[in-house]
């Protein structure tokens, strides 16, 4: 197999996209992906579809794919470092979804999506343990999923309030990406959560990060909460993006030389509420809106 940088040439430039997951539009006023694409095509060039195979695809995702519009597949239900998670039943369901979406690539948070087997009540999302011992198993999982799906698999830095282990999350993801010979999805909001949790400046760890492997960026709103004096950020995908998320995003644009896509994660908000942040993303990335 050619190395990642050779394979990268085949990955399309998707531009700015939006995210969705099963039932995201059930809430009042939630974003209609196809309406956004119709009215503001430069801000919705592709749809990142969050998939938990037990739920499958909702009407919005199916309608988008039926129009032949570009997608990416964001998994919500696999622990990449657990070989048991790659069971034949799950892989068959993933391939079925891929048949429908025909995604440009597969991506998703490289963390613990569930404890034990996939089952009701087991779902959560914890970041990986930030130690060198995480690297080989995580990398093996990425390579296995890439082989099983025939698509690039981009690990994403997960959100969290409790990060275990001494490594910086960017250091871990660089090591994982190199060991798996893959690209990376950098979620700017999740990184802001990490930097805050560790009391670090927004650009801590930038010097050692594999920026040339960053294929996709995420920008999303978050809300500050407090528990017993501890301030933490809830990754609520709201319309209010934290200043440090913007700072990370803008710095990432300067460094990510192989960037192909930016997702604005705002699926449960009305279009008028998220247009300003989408326009800011477009402006920062020098995307023509006309």
């Amino acid at each position: 197999m050619p190395d990642f940088f050779a394979r990268l040439r085949a990955l399309p430039h998707l531009g700015i996209g939006i995210s969705t997951e099963y039932g995201a539009r059930r809430g009042d006023g939630a974003l209609d992906p196809r309406a956004l694409r119709r009215d503001h095509p430069a801000l919705a060039r592709f749809l990142e579809v969050g998939v938990e195979v037990v739920q499958g695809l909702d009407e919005d995702a199916r309608a988008w794919a039926a129009e032949g519009a570009p997608t990416t597949y964001h998994f919500l239900d696999v622990n990449l470092d657990e070989p048991e998670d790659f069971d034949a039943e799950w892989l068959a369901a993933v391939r079925e979804v891929i048949e429908v979406l025909r995604p440009a690539w597969v991506c998703g948070d490289a963390g613990m999506w569930h404890f034990g087997p996939r089952d009701r009540g087991h779902m959560l999302l914890l970041p990986p343990v930030l130690v060198p011992e995480t690297v080989p198993t995580m990398a093996a999982g990425i390579a296995a999923l890439r082989q099983a799906t025939g698509h690039e698999v981009l690990p994403e830095n997960p959100p969290g309030a409790a990060f275990v282990g001494p490594m910086h999350v960017l250091e871990l993801f660089t090591a994982v990406a190199e060991a798996a010979d893959t690209g990376v999805l950098l979620d700017c909001a999740h990184l802001a959560m990490f930097q805050r949790a560790r009391g670090l400046p927004f650009d801590a760890g930038f010097d050692a990060f594999a920026w040339d492997r960053v294929v996709e960026l995420h920008v999303a709103g978050g809300t500050e909460h407090r528990v017993d004096g501890l301030v933490f950020v809830e990754d609520d995908h709201g319309a209010s993006v934290l200043p440090d998320t913007w700072a990370i995003f803008e710095a990432a644009l300067e460094r990510a030389s192989n960037l192909r896509a930016v997702v604005v994660e705002c699926e449960r908000n009305p279009i008028p509420a998220v247009l300003p942040l989408m326009q800011r993303v477009a402006s920062a990335w020098a995307v023509e809106l006309a």
């Binding site: 914890l126 990986p128 130690v131 198993t137 275990v164 501890l230 809830e234």
Partner: protein, 259 residues
């Protein structure tokens, strides 16, 4: 002191973190000086470094998981009381399930034991049958994945059906509205032999079976050699000369299968 002496397995650390998130008392125990046999010292040191407040950012985590359990084992919850069920998350069975990658309903069943008498065993069997996967054929025989035998006190099935109907389509809401003192009291005397079977559409069929069949199925929940099953059949009353033919018949009827 720890039984896992050294090494660092990130999965073990993550499993421990899950238990800490669900159980603040165990989280405090990990931070303290007592024995934590599940973790090496290196693993424990990583978790000790966590700000305990960072474990409390989701106040509804336990309630959501409890909701799932109560939905699936509603009559058990009616017998024990919902609040009593919450003690499961602080139990060794919960932690063993997380570390052993078991379904939460299976760990809950292990914790239940005889706490909710026959209905606990019946609803645990129903949960197990819903999740049953095709067995790996290891050259042994056993209970087919979609079938379980359960031995319970007499009248348990009628009690289960009555209370389940009383709880209606939203048992969690019904139980939340009940007075704490109005717990249902299940049968405790006599014996009833039940079969729990998953239909092709995924729904469950509950019915009674003969004592020898149900007891043989209970015996066959663990994979067994054919000779073991024949000996058990004889112990349960079959003629020695007929035991082999009986096992053949059960295999032909799908009441036993490869396991």
């Amino acid at each position: 002191m720890s039984l896992v002496r050294d090494g660092l397995d990130p999965r073990r650390v993550q499993h421990a973190l899950v238990c800490m998130l669900f159980d603040p008392a165990w989280a405090a125990h990990v931070r303290g000086q007592g024995l934590v046999p599940e973790l090496s010292e290196r693993e424990r040191a990583l978790l000790r470094a966590l700000d305990p407040r960072a474990l409390a950012t989701d106040p509804h985590r336990r309630a959501r998981a409890l909701h799932v359990l109560v939905e699936e084992l509603p009559v058990t919850a009616a017998v024990l009381g919902v609040a009593a069920c919450e003690a499961f998350f602080s139990a060794p069975e919960f932690r063993a399930g997380v570390f052993g990658r078991a379904a939460m309903t299976a760990s809950f069943a292990a914790w239940l034991g005889d706490r909710a008498h026959g209905v606990g065993r019946l609803e645990s069997a129903m949960a197990a049958v819903r999740r049953a996967k095709p067995p790996a054929d290891r050259g042994r025989l056993g209970c087919p994945p979609g079938l379980r035998g359960v031995v319970v006190p007499a009248n348990t099935l009628a009690f289960y059906l009555r209370v389940r109907e009383e709880l209606g389509p939203d048992p969690v809401r019904s139980l939340a509205q009940r007075e704490a003192s109005s717990r249902s009291s299940p049968p405790r005397r006599g014996t009833q032999f039940l079969l729990v079977e998953r239909r092709p559409d995924g729904s469950l069929d509950l019915g009674s079976g003969s004592e020898p069949l149900v007891r043989l199925l209970c015996f066959a929940e663990r994979p067994r050699a054919r000779t073991e099953l024949e000996l058990e059949a004889v112990r349960l009353g079959a003629e020695p000369a007929d035991a082999s033919a009986l096992i053949d018949e059960l295999l032909a009827d799908g009441l036993l299968g490869p396991s």
